[in-house]
Every structure is written in C-alpha cells, then in structure tokens.
C-alpha cells in the first residue's frame, strides 16, 4: 500500500488555568487510533467538521508533526523521520496560504522550486509547459503574484506543488473561496492528473461537490476517529441523507404526489420542496413530475456534509 496508517494517535497536551498560578494539564486526543491505507493512484476525499483531526492527519502524513503512537508510512518512508527525503515524493497545497513569492513574477517561484528540488532541466521545462498549459497560466507567468486573483493563485500553487513530479498530492481545501469557473478548472485538472499521471491524491474539503466529482472514495473523520470509509454513495446511505428537489410550478397547486420515496417537505406559493434519498437518482422523479405537472423550473440541492456527518455520528453513539 502506498499510504499506510496503522493505529496512529496524536495527543496534544493543553494547559488550562484553573486558578491563581494553578494550571491543569489536560490531554487532547486530536487523532485516536486511526488506521487506513491508500493504494497508489487512488483519489481520496478526507472530510470532517472543523477540529475533527483532518489537518493533524495531513500534518503527520507530510512529516510536519510526529505521531504520538502508531505506525505511518508514505511510499515506504516514515514521514517524521525522513522529512526531507519524503519532501521529494509529495506535493502539498495549503488552500489558504500560498507558497508563492508575493512580490515576484510567478515564474520566479517556479525557478526556485526547480533548484530547491533539483529537478533535471529537461523534466522541469517539460512539466512547467504541460502544467501551465493545463491550468491556463501561460499569460500570467511574468505577473507578480500579488496581482493574481485568488483562483489564479490557487492554480499557481498547484503548479508549484507538482513541478517535481510527486507521487502523492495533498490538497487542503483546494477550492475554498474560488468562483464556479475556477473550481471547475481545478477539478478538471485534478481528474486529468490522477488519470494520466497516476498521482495519488488526498484532499480535504468542505465542498461535497469536490468529493462527488473527483473522489471514488471518501473518508469521514470526527473526534479523531474514522467514522466512514467507502464510496460517496454509501456515505449517503449510511447517513440516510436526503437531497432536495426544488420545483417551480406555473401556479399554486396542492403538494405534488410524486410516489416512490420522495415526499413534499415544504410548499410556498408555486414553489415546492421535495426530499428524496441521496442514494437515488433524481432523473425518474423529475420525469414523473414533468409529465404530470406544469413545470417551470427545477433544481437539485445536495445534502451538506455537516448534516450527513452529524447523522452518522448520532447513529454510532446510539448504537
């Protein structure tokens, strides 16, 4: 297995003031006996609420943090022991902080990577050309990074993380704050990268669409524990989550009788909201409604990740 995480724990000691000069030491388990493996070329979404232990896991996998217990291997390397050797094999994109040089033209940051990672000249030139074309950055190479938009900068950061041909790419919230077009472009690129280069991708996100469009597998972590590991569809089943179909009719009508497992949850004038299981396709439902009702417009809303996780978590604790 390419990434092996076996019984990994991370315990932080937090000191709290309990009185005058008195302090209480409390141990916080950010990651609790976490175990999973990722095969080469897999694309995995790693999700969970804030403070669930996502970034702590990523930091251990990239060698930034040393685990308190357990065994961890990435490409056969123990990340915390051989941090610099691992660095050549991984690419990291921190969504909210750029590693590009603010005042210098974009190309300068890439030249630094070229030399810092000792990328052979021919390979550097080839990778740069390919990445810049795929991410459409050609016209921006000579522009100072501070003048780039958020989406352009994110694409720039992705290029910087991939120039040395890493086997695994960690992305921390790669689409946060991006507009729809930039999001689509980043996703499209990641898909191609994964298919053509076989790069293993592990991404954390709050955007369920990132996972939906990119990852065949999703891992849900909460309170430092793995709550779910499998395909996204299964997550919806486990979480019993529902999607919502918003239907605009020509006029006010009594609640739609759609049949099946769909049911109307809200009516507001000519607009009606129908809930149906997220694991089912919306197509037959839409076809039935379109055939029987005067339909003006409709849209499908995905369940948000937080509520799905909340459901899973509630089930686990009651079970």
């Amino acid at each position: 297995m390419f990434i092996e995480v076996d019984g990994v724990e991370k315990v932080f000691e937090v000191r709290k003031k309990t009185g005058f000069l008195k302090r209480e030491r409390r141990q916080v388990r950010a990651v609790d006996t976490l175990s999973f493996t990722v095969a080469r070329g897999e694309m995995v979404g790693y999700i969970g609420p804030n403070g669930a232990g996502k970034s702590t896991t990523i930091k251990m996998l990239t060698g930034i943090l040393t685990p308190s217990a357990g065994r961890l291997r990435v490409a056969g390397i123990d990340p915390s022991r051989e941090r610099t050797r691992l660095a050549h094999r991984i690419g990291v994109v921190f969504g909210q902080r750029t590693t590009l040089w603010w005042d210098l033209p974009l190309i300068d940051s890439y030249r630094l990577m070229h030399r810092m990672y000792r990328i052979p000249d021919a390979r550097y030139a080839e990778n740069l050309d390919r990445l810049v074309e795929l991410l459409d950055l050609g016209a921006l190479l000579d522009v100072p990074v501070r003048q780039l938009s958020l989406g352009q900068r994110m694409r720039g950061d992705i290029v910087a993380a991939l120039l040395h041909d890493p086997d695994v790419l960690y992305l921390d919230e790669p689409t946060i704050g991006l507009d729809v077009i930039s999001k689509a472009r980043v996703r499209e690129f990641l898909r191609e990268l994964n298919v053509e280069r076989g790069t293993t991708v592990l991404l954390t996100t709050h955007d369920l669409q990132d996972i939906e469009q990119l990852c065949s597998r999703v891992m849900v972590i909460d309170h430092g524990r793995l709550m779910y590991d499998g395909p996204l569809a299964g997550l919806h089943e486990v979480g019993e989550s529902e999607r919502t179909l918003v239907v605009d009719l020509e006029r006010e009508l009594p609640p739609i009788e759609a049949g099946g497992s769909a049911r109307v949850v809200r009516v507001e004038g000519p607009r009606q909201w129908l809930a149906f299981p997220a694991s089912e396709s919306a197509a037959p439902l839409v076809a039935r409604i379109a055939a029987e009702y005067p339909l003006v417009d409709l849209s499908v809303r995905e369940p948000d990740i937080e509520s799905v996780i909340a459901t899973i978590y509630a089930e686990r604790t009651t079970a």
Partner: protein, 271 residues
C-alpha cells in the same frame, strides 16, 4: 553532517536570493532604508564621539581604543545581523501557520528560517562598523605583530558566529514562547509595567542588548586587551586570547541543541 550543512547553505543562498530580488522590486524604498540604516548606526558611534568631546578617556581607554572595541563588536554583530537577523519572524510564521510550508520542503528548516526576510540593507551596519574598526586599527598606538594581525579577523569571525548562535537560540525559544497562553501568563503575572510596552520591544532588545554581552565580553575584551597591550580583565591567563573560536564553537553547539529541541517540541505539539 557535512552534506547536510552544504545542503543548508545551498537552500539559504537560494532563499536569500529570492528575498533580495523581492526587495529590489521596490528600489526606492530599498535605497531609503539603506540610507536610514547607515544614519542610525552612524549615530550610534556619534554618541561615543560626543562623549569624548568632554573627556579624554573612558575608564582609562582612549578614543581610538574604545573605537577599536566598538568597531569589533559592531562589525561582528553586523555580519550576524545580515546573515540571521530576521530569524525573529519565526514566531509570526508559527502563529500564522506558514511555518508548516517550510517543513514540507526538501531543505533543512534552520537554513530556510535563517534566510527568511533576508535584507541587504543590513550591510549598512557592517560598513559602518568596518569603517570605525579600520580607523581605530590605524589610530591606536600599537605595534602590529603577526599574532595581533591574525587575531583581528579571528575576533570578528568568532564574534559573528557567536551572535549567529544567539539568534538561533532566540529563535528556538520562540517555539516554546508561541504558546500564547503561557506568554500571556508571563505578562499578567509579570506586572502591569511590562504591559505598557509592546512585547516585541522586549523580544528584540532583550536578546540583542543583554544576552549578547556575556559571551562577547570573553571574545571581545580579552583579545582586545592583548592587542592593545592592556592588562587582562580578571587576570585571565594569556592563552585565553586565542579562545574566541572555542567559545564560538561551544555557542554553536548549544544553539544547535536548543534549535533541535525547539523544533522537536513544535513537531510534537503543532500549532
């Protein structure tokens, strides 16, 4: 070990180069800060000159002799300040999380942090110290033997290394001090007086002002006394004039240990 040091130097050079280029984007601003730097450090020595307009000697030392001492330490400090002077941004790097981005690079962290915010304007201090030292060396009434001539670069070099070690130790301390709660406690229990000043004032001036005096006394005063033909402070044996490189090596080893301990503590506790 040697390979790692070379790797570190290489990374340092690469990153420092990027900072120089970043500075040169704002050329006017750069020239102004260089001029300001020269002026401020120049005023530093002007205070000493001013004192000598009133007295003929300071504790029995003449103006060129005091200038010699001053020039030695100013040059040594200037070199260290140029090389590692921005290491105190480490604290803010840890706080805003950008320190993590350094840890995923295939280069020694110390070199990356050392080269952070590398600023050529600091050449001002070196040139000022160098000019004073040069003038003093020519003006003191000393017979320059081969030993004394050899001692001169040795003193400047060792002094610079010691200052560097102190910068590293100071940065290593920031790994621990970034525990905000702890720092806050220190201030709340430490008395309200301290709170009247921004904490950054203390970090810098404490480190630069007080700590630097101790090892420097050894490195600067003893050999300077030898060069100037004056009695040794504390009646130290004569061989101690050659001790600066030894003191520098010890300082480096200690600073290296402190850095490693700091980094280890960061990597086990995170932000």
């Amino acid at each position: 070990m040697g390979e790692r040091a070379l790797e570190g130097l290489r990374a340092y050079r690469l990153i420092a180069g990027m900072w120089v280029r970043s500075t040169m984007i704002y050329r006017t601003s750069f020239l102004l800060t260089v001029a300001g730097n020269l002026l401020v450090t120049g005023l530093d020595f002007a205070t000493i000159l001013l004192m000598f307009t009133r007295v003929d000697s300071l504790g029995g030392w003449s103006l060129p002799e005091v200038a010699f001492l001053y020039g030695l330490s100013a040059t040594a400090f200037g070199v260290a300040d140029l090389v590692l002077g921005s290491m105190d941004v480490l604290g803010s790097r840890i706080r805003d999380g950008s320190f993590d981005t350094l840890l995923v690079r295939p280069a020694p962290v110390l070199a990356q942090v050392g080269a952070d915010r590398f600023a050529l304007r600091r050449l001002g201090r070196i040139s000022q110290g160098g000019v004073v030292l040069g003038w003093a060396a020519l003006s003191v009434d000393v017979h320059w033997s081969a030993a004394k001539l050899l001692l001169l670069p040795l003193m400047v070099g060792s002094g610079a290394v010691i200052f560097c070690a102190l910068f590293v130790a100071g940065a290593a301390f920031q790994f621990l001090a970034q525990d905000a709660a702890e720092v806050q406690n220190a201030f709340t229990y430490g008395g309200t007086t301290l709170l009247q000043y921004p904490p950054t004032v203390f970090g810098r001036d404490f480190v630069r002002g007080v700590t630097f005096m101790l090892p420097l006394a050894f490195v600067n005063w003893v050999p300077a006394a030898y060069v100037l033909g004056r009695p040794y402070p504390l009646r130290l044996p004569e061989w101690t004039v050659w001790s600066p490189p030894l003191v520098a090596a010890v300082c480096c080893a200690l600073a290296g240990l402190a850095w490693r301990a700091g980094l280890r503590s960061y990597r086990s506790t995170g932000s």
